[in-house]
C-alpha cells in the first residue's frame, strides 16, 4: 500500500461513514446486485425459450411474498432449512465439510416418533411427551453426526464421505423399522410408525400457519451465532478451522472441538426431524426423506456459514419453493424451471463473493476479511 492511498483511506475513514457501516453496506449491496444480475441472466433464458420475464418475476413475487398466505407459505418451507443450514454451517466453521444432515434429520425424526409410541399409548402428558421426543431426536442426531466427527479425529476417516454414507445408512435403518417392527398395521399403503395423534401434535405459532420449528430455528441461529462469534469456544473452533496445525500447537483440544461441533450440527438436524414428526407428519415414514438436509448445505454456503445469515437465506429458499408452484400453475412451465433459476442465482451469488473488498466505494482498508 502506498503512503498516498493510506492517507486517502485514513482521511475517508475519519470523515466518512464508519467501518462497520461500510462493511454492512457492502454485505447488503453485493448480494443485492448479484440477485439483480441473475434475474437479468434468467430473463435472457426465458426470452430464448419464449416466455415473458415480467410475468415470471411478478408471479415469483406473488407466490413467495405477495400476500399474507404467500409469506407464511415461504416461512413454513424455510423452517427445516434453517436447522439443516445450521447443521452444515457449524462444522464448516471448524473446517469440516459435513454433509450428513439428511441422515441425522431422518434418524432424529424416526427415533422421536418411536419413543412417542409407548408415551402416547400410556397417556403421558402432552408437554412431557413432546419434550422427551425433542430430546430423543436431538440426542440421536447429535450422536449420529458426532460419530462422524469422532471418526474424523480418532481414525482420520474423511468426514465428507463418512457423513454421506451414514446418511444412506440412516435412511435404510428408518425404512427397515418403519416397514418392519415398528410399523403401524393401520398404515397400510404408506408404512409409518404409530401416529402420535392430534392431541400430541405441536400447533402453529399463534395467529399464523407456521409451525414452531421456524421460531426455534431463529432462536437457535442466534444462540449459535453468539456461541461461534462471542465465546472462547467459538474462537477456538474458528481458529482450528483456520489452521489446524496452529491450533494444535496452541494446545487447543482439537478433537473435542470437532466432536462438539459435529454433535451440535447433528442436534440441529435431529431437531428438524423432531419438528417434521411433531408438527407435520405426526409419525415417521419415508416422507422424512425430503432432501432438506442436502438443501441445507447450499443454504449454509450462501450464508457463508454465518448462523444469523442462515435465516434469511433459508427464507429465500422457502420463497422460491413456494413460488415454484405458482410458476408451474400459471405459466405451465415444468418444476425444473426453479432448479435452473436457483442454479443461476447461486452461481452468480457465489461469483459475487469475489467483489468483497474490491469495490472502491466500500473501501476503508485495503482488504476486508469477512469471516
Amino acid at each position: 500500500m502506498t503512503a498516498e492511498t493510506a492517507d486517502a483511506i485514513s482521511t475517508r475513514a475519519s470523515q466518512g461513514p464508519s467501518l462497520q457501516v461500510l462493511r454492512l453496506a457492502e454485505a447488503i449491496t453485493i448480494p443485492a446486485l448479484a440477485v439483480v444480475a441473475s434475474a437479468v441472466l434468467f430473463s435472457l433464458f426465458l426470452l430464448v425459450i419464449g416466455k415473458d420475464p415480467l410475468t415470471f418475476f411478478s408471479l415469483v413475487w406473488t407466490g413467495g411474498f405477495g400476500s399474507s398466505f404467500s409469506i407464511q407459505n415461504s416461512l413454513q418451507r424455510a423452517a427445516p432449512l434453517i436447522l439443516t443450514g445450521l447443521a452444515f454451517a457449524i462444522p464448516a466453521r471448524i473446517g469440516l465439510t459435513m454433509i450428513g444432515g439428511e441422515g441425522a434429520l431422518v434418524l432424529g425424526g424416526f427415533t422421536s416418533a418411536a419413543i412417542a409410541i409407548p408415551l402416547v399409548g400410556g397417556g403421558a402428558p402432552v408437554p412431557l411427551t413432546l419434550l422427551i421426543m425433542a430430546v430423543t431426536g436431538v440426542v440421536t442426531g447429535g450422536l449420529w453426526v458426532g460419530f462422524t466427527g469422532w471418526l474424523k479425529y480418532a481414525r482420520g476417516v474423511n468426514e465428507t464421505i463418512a457423513s454421506l454414507l451414514l446418511s444412506y445408512i440412516a435412511i435404510a435403518t428408518m425404512n427397515f423399522f418403519v416397514e418392519g417392527a415398528l410399523r403401524d398395521p393401520a398404515s397400510a399403503n404408506k408404512p409409518s410408525t404409530m401416529p402420535i395423534g392430534d392431541a400430541y401434535r405441536i400447533g402453529s405459532i399463534p395467529g399464523t400457519d407456521i409451525h414452531w420449528g421456524f421460531a426455534t430455528g431463529i432462536l437457535l441461529a442466534v444462540v449459535l451465532w453468539v456461541l461461534m462469534s462471542r465465546t472462547t469456544f467459538g474462537f477456538a473452533a474458528r481458529m482450528t478451522g483456520g489452521n489446524i496445525r496452529a491450533a494444535k500447537a496452541q494446545g487447543l483440544p482439537v478433537g473435542w472441538l470437532m466432536v462438539t461441533c459435529c454433535t451440535i450440527a447433528g442436534a440441529c438436524a435431529g431437531l428438524a426431524g423432531f419438528f417434521e414428526v411433531a408438527a407435520i407428519h405426526g409419525q415417521a415414514n419415508a416422507s422424512l426423506v425430503a432432501g432438506y438436509g442436502f438443501t441445507g448445505i447450499l443454504v449454509a454456503f450462501l450464508a457463508r456459514q454465518n448462523p444469523l445469515a442462515v435465516v434469511p437465506v433459508a427464507i429465500l429458499f422457502g420463497a422460491l419453493a413456494a413460488a415454484g408452484g405458482v410458476i408451474q400453475r400459471r405459466m405451465g412451465m415444468p418444476d425444473a424451471t426453479m432448479l435452473v433459476l436457483q442454479g443461476m442465482l447461486f452461481v452468480v451469488l457465489l461469483v459475487s463473493d469475489t467483489f468483497y473488498g474490491r469495490l472502491k466505494f466500500f473501501q476503508v482498508k485495503a482488504t476486508g476479511d469477512r469471516t
Binding site: G95, T97, L151, R155, G156, V157, N158, T160, I161, A162, L164, L165, L166, Y168, I169, I171, A172, T173, N175, F176, E179, I244, I297, L298, F301, L302, P334, D335, A336, T337, M338, L339, V340, L341, Q342, G343, M344, F346, V347, L349, L350, V351, D353, T354, Y356, G357
Partner: protein
C-alpha cells in the same frame, strides 16, 4: 446352497461390470480435478446433464456415439464454467460445485422432458461370455466398450501422473501452488483445464447411464451416483487405479441386494440394498487409521484443510 452362492457371485460380477462404469468416469474426472488442487462437488450435475444430452442426441441423430461425444461436451461446458468461476479470488470451489449441481440437473430436467418417452438407439456391447454356455454368465460378461475405455484411461492417468511433464505439473499444482508458481506454471490455467477435463469425463459417465445401463432417460436416473462417485475419490485416495477398484467394488456391492432376494434370502433387504454404503464405510474405518490416507491427499485441497 452352492448354486445360490454361485448365482450371487455371478450377479456381483455382472453388477461390477454393468454398474461401475459411470462411477469410474466421474471418479476419474474428479481425481484429475482434485489432483490439480480443486474440488468439483458438482459432477452429479454433469452426470445428469450428460445423460440427458446423450439420450437426446442419440434419439435425434440416430448415432449413440455422437451422443456420447455430446455428453462429454455438455460436461466440458459445466466443468469449464466451474473452472472459470473458481479462478476468481475468494470464490469457494465446494460451494460453486453444489450450485453447479443444481444448475446442471435443472437444465437436464428442463430440456429433458421430451426425451423421457422416446426410445433412443443404445450403445452396443461386446459379448465376451457366449463361450461359457451359461446365460447368466454370458449376460454378466456383456461388456460395453466404455468400460474398457475407463480402465485404459485409469492406467494411462496413473502412468501419466508419474511419468509425463503434464502429469507432474498437475500434481505439483495440487500439492503446492507456491512451488508451481515458482516453476513458472500458471496454477489457475492448470486447474481450469483439469476441471474442464474432469467435467468432460463425468459427462461421458452420464452417457453410459442413459445409452447403455439402465439405458433410459428420466429424472430419477442418477439418484446421487455422481455425488457418491466424487466421494469415492477420497475412498480411493486420489489414485486412478484404486478409483477403478472402488467403482467395481461399489457396482458389485450394489448387486448383492437384488440377487440375494432372487435366491431366496428375502429378509432385511433394506440393509442388503444399502450394502455398498455400509461396506464402504467399514473399509474406510478399517483402513483410514493408517497414515497412508493422509499422505496421499493433494496439499492444496480445501476439503482437507
Amino acid at each position: 446352497m452352492d448354486s445360490a452362492v454361485l448365482t450371487v457371485l455371478i450377479a456381483m460380477l455382472g453388477g461390477a461390470i454393468r454398474v461401475s462404469t459411470p462411477f469410474m468416469f466421474v471418479a476419474l474426472g474428479e481425481t484429475l480435478t482434485e489432483k490439480s488442487g480443486r474440488i468439483n462437488l458438482g459432477l452429479e450435475g454433469n452426470l445428469v446433464l450428460g445423460a440427458m444430452v446423450a439420450y437426446a442426441i442419440s434419439y435425434l441423430n440416430g448415432s449413440p456415439w455422437l451422443g456420447v461425444l455430446a455428453a462429454g461436451g455438455s460436461g466440458l461446458f459445466l466443468g469449464a464454467l466451474h473452472g472459470y468461476i473458481c479462478k476468481l479470488p475468494k470464490v469457494n470451489d465446494i460451494a460453486v460445485g453444489i450450485a453447479m449441481m443444481s444448475f446442471g440437473t435443472g437444465l437436464a430436467f428442463f430440456f429433458g422432458k421430451p426425451f423421457i418417452q422416446p426410445q433412443a438407439p443404445h450403445l452396443d456391447s461386446i459379448p465376451l461370455g457366449d463361450w461359457t454356455g451359461n446365460s447368466a454368465l454370458a449376460q454378466a460378461l456383456q461388456v460395453n466398450p466404455l468400460f474398457f475405455v475407463g480402465i485404459a484411461l485409469a492406467v494411462f492417468m496413473w502412468w501419466a501422473f508419474r511419468n509425463t511433464r503434464w502429469g507432474l505439473i498437475v500434481r505439483m499444482t495440487g500439492d503446492s501452488a507456491a512451488s508451481a508458481k515458482a516453476m513458472g506454471v500458471s496454477v489457475e490455467l492448470i486447474r481450469f483445464l483439469a476441471t474442464s477435463a474432469g467435467g468432460f469425463l463425468a459427462g461421458i459417465g452420464g452417457a453410459f447411464l442413459s445409452l447403455y445401463y439402465p439405458g433410459i432417460w428420466n429424472q430419477g436416473l442418477s439418484s446421487g451416483q455422481g455425488l457418491m462417485a466424487v466421494a469415492l475419490v477420497i475412498f480411493a485416495r486420489w489414485d486412478p487405479i484404486r478409483a477403478i477398484f472402488a467403482a467395481l467394488f461399489f457396482g458389485a456391492a450394489g448387486a448383492i441386494g437384488p440377487s440375494l432376494q432372487a435366491v431366496g434370502v428375502t429378509q432385511g433387504y433394506y440393509f442388503f440394498n444399502a450394502a455398498p454404503y455400509i461396506l464402504t464405510l467399514i473399509i474406510m474405518i478399517i483402513s483410514a487409521g493408517s497414515k497412508a490416507a493422509a499422505r496421499d491427499v493433494p496439499g492444496e485441497l480445501s476439503i482437507t484443510k
